[in-house]
Symmetry: C2
Subunit: 310 residues, 2 copies
Amino acid sequence: MLPVVVVHGGAGQIPKQRTEQSTLGVCTAVRAAYTILRGGGSSMDAVVEAVTQMEDNPSFNAGHGSVLNAKGGVEMDAIVMEGKTLGSGAVSAVRNIANPVQLARLVMDKTSHACLTAEGASQFARAMGVPEVPEESLITEYSRMRWTKNLAPEANPVECQMGKMGTVGAVAVDSEGNIACATSTGGMLNKMEGRVGDTPCIGSGGYADNNVGAVSTTGHGEAIMKVTLARLILFHMEQGHSVEAASDLGLAYMKSRVAALGGVVTVDPRGHWAARFSSRQMSWAAAQKDTLHYGLYTGEHFTQSIDHPH
Amino acid sequence: MLPVVVVHGGAGQIPKQRTEQSTLGVCTAVRAAYTILRGGGSSMDAVVEAVTQMEDNPSFNAGHGSVLNAKGGVEMDAIVMEGKTLGSGAVSAVRNIANPVQLARLVMDKTSHACLTAEGASQFARAMGVPEVPEESLITEYSRMRWTKNLAPEANPVECQMGKMGTVGAVAVDSEGNIACATSTGGMLNKMEGRVGDTPCIGSGGYADNNVGAVSTTGHGEAIMKVTLARLILFHMEQGHSVEAASDLGLAYMKSRVAALGGVVTVDPRGHWAARFSSRQMSWAAAQKDTLHYGLYTGEHFTQSIDHPH
């Protein structure tokens, strides 16, 4: 059953003209991550590669393609966690870098801390030689259109959110049984400057424990935080529930207790995996035993050989 | 059994000359909070009042008296959470305000977000009319001495940490059964600029749920985050463990899995409470049924009438 990697490109309602790009994006990311795992690479390398690819892909709300905050700027959050040590690294409200997930990993690898925020994160990026990129390079036409539309007098901000809640994330188990997760986001359209959501918050945006499994989440950040969704699902797994049942229990609780929808990708140490969501859609893909799995709507599950030309 | 409030002034090793001030500080804070509860006030008002008093007290590592970061500056983190709605508010790496816990409450009450960080948090503070205070007003002679000592060539940073891990926090249940928690800290001595610890991270620095209880934590932030200590203890309570047993299970797991010490204050909906720690000391106090409880070393538990002149 090992290795395995599962990725998501965000839960929500994806506009029809963007579904194909989104599906293609998660499949490409999962292939790259699986190539690392198949070559004996670590789960941490795999999830960081998958998330990096989705950050670079303008179809997702992370890195290039991030939504804009209330002032039209880009502030990004990301986290990585490794299940062997429970070590994690995160950045919040970071600006002007292409790949927040890679900076989060540097926080884990190169500091004694678990999270750096805002200007402190930028200082650390400079010290690590991470190139600074102009904010414009992270902004797409689509992001700007949505921000402008959201500011219009007749705008319905909630409806505008729905188009793209596309936080990205990945979970993986490598052939040595080490488990990792990574999550990255541009946050919430029109958020206040300095708003930190669930993504960089350990236990909410993600969690990984070699003894139990890993989860990466997507959806309405403030609601995910209320129920510490990633950790909640892993507690259900500790109680003996399968990856699928535990994921559904966590999402159902979030729906009933705080009336919010979302989605998750989940793995356990034996390589069982799930991609579950209570929202209308979530773009997801998984790779295991040389097979690529993917889907978008509830119940949708396509498979093909991982080596099938796409 | 209701109302009840329990506070802590930090786990660690408190220098002998500071133990009396620390004990006096937690007792004063818990009295003020209990007065609110006895007058029919809410658990949220009570925990914010208790933490505000400890932020204002230079004996604790929060607000006035915060430890200094690597550059000699003060950056503070705080969180509040209410158990009825699971709503929370937090600030991270905020500067130049006297009471981060009050700003955290404003984030909960006045925004749709759960956390604001750094300069974004400062902007919000200004918009709310929170007075800006000079950094010097938050710094004590003692904090500066420890920072200077920590920078000395012969310094042992870990040993320097031990003197004052004094994050402050409170949990309470009011007479209507509503549960709340609050935690506030200056963080870790000599931390990197922008470092965010466990305190503002929901499920790590604190968590409150009317159905289960509330926890506020103190100790080595990065370790607390690894095990999402507050949420972990509440999961044990959901499994049927008492406040005391659940707290001890959480702390024991943190010790065995990531070799770290800490302390917590915990309540359940019926008003059972615990102040537990694996560190050498934790200053704590509780008030219930007009009795004040307090202690500092393991096993120490003094009581007196809440109306006893101190």
